[in-house]
């Protein structure tokens, strides 16, 4: 399995690789399936807290041959914060 990161996107939103790991490893996590990328790959958005308590959204594109690309990381949008709150209460 391999992982690559869009470091321009992460740097723009001041999100580190460590924080991406913390979101992926979170127990309280909300996942949202996104429309496929222009390349036709499946994509998901994860919403979870980092260890420092920052609520982030992390976008992942699934490439063939077990390759994953983190194409987005940012503080959770208003919509995703609401989605997180709604699904966590379920």
């Amino acid at each position: 399995m391999t992982v690559t990161y869009d470091d321009n996107n992460l740097a723009k939103h001041k999100v580190s690789h460590d924080e991406v790991d913390e979101v992926m490893d979170a127990d309280l996590i909300v996942d949202v399936e996104l429309p496929p990328s222009k390349r036709g790959h499946q994509r998901v958005m994860l919403i979870a807290f980092t260890l420092q308590g920052r609520l982030l959204e992390v976008g992942i594109e699934f490439f063939p041959h077990d390759h994953n690309h983190i194409f987005h990381g940012d503080d959770a949008s208003k919509h995703n914060k609401a989605e997180f709150a709604r699904r966590i209460k379920q």
């Binding site: 992982v3 992926m24 996590i29 996942d31």
Partner: protein, 131 residues
């Protein structure tokens, strides 16, 4: 992959499971944790550490270890069905869990990898708590 119901396809859930496991390993290997405190608390922490003549990091680590040992003992026992209608559950004494692990290791009983790992993790956490 999480305590909440996933909205993803099974295939995507499996890919995320692998990503989560790899991320978890990287977090463990950091052997480092940091957190924010406000200025008044920072001031108080420095004062207490100075009074105790300890470096702040050493003092905090001692506190965390002390509390962690208490909390680890409260971690729930994993529920595992054993052959012959027996089961490990929250009422099982530690000796019974150790026996199940030894029975599995010597081939006397069969457990799934996940069940074996859950029992071993629980025992390791307890062992660390008792150190």
């Amino acid at each position: 992959m999480n305590k909440k119901k996933s909205h993803l396809s099974l295939e995507n859930q499996k890919r995320l499971e692998k990503l989560k496991a790899a991320a978890h390993e990287r977090i463990l290997k950091r052997e480092f944790v940091q957190f924010r405190v406000d200025a008044p608390m920072m001031n108080l922490l420095l004062k207490v550490a100075s009074h105790k003549r300890q470096p702040l990091g050493v003092m905090l680590r001692d506190w965390v270890e002390h509390q962690l040992a208490k909390e680890a003992k409260l971690l729930p026992v994993p529920s595992v069905d054993l052959p012959g209608g027996h089961a490990i559950n929250e009422k099982s004494p530690q000796k019974e869990i150790e026996k199940a692990v030894l029975d599995y290791q010597s081939g006397r009983i069969k457990l799934s990898d996940k069940e074996y790992r859950a029992l071993m993790d629980w025992l390791l956490d307890h062992h660390l708590a008792e150190k």
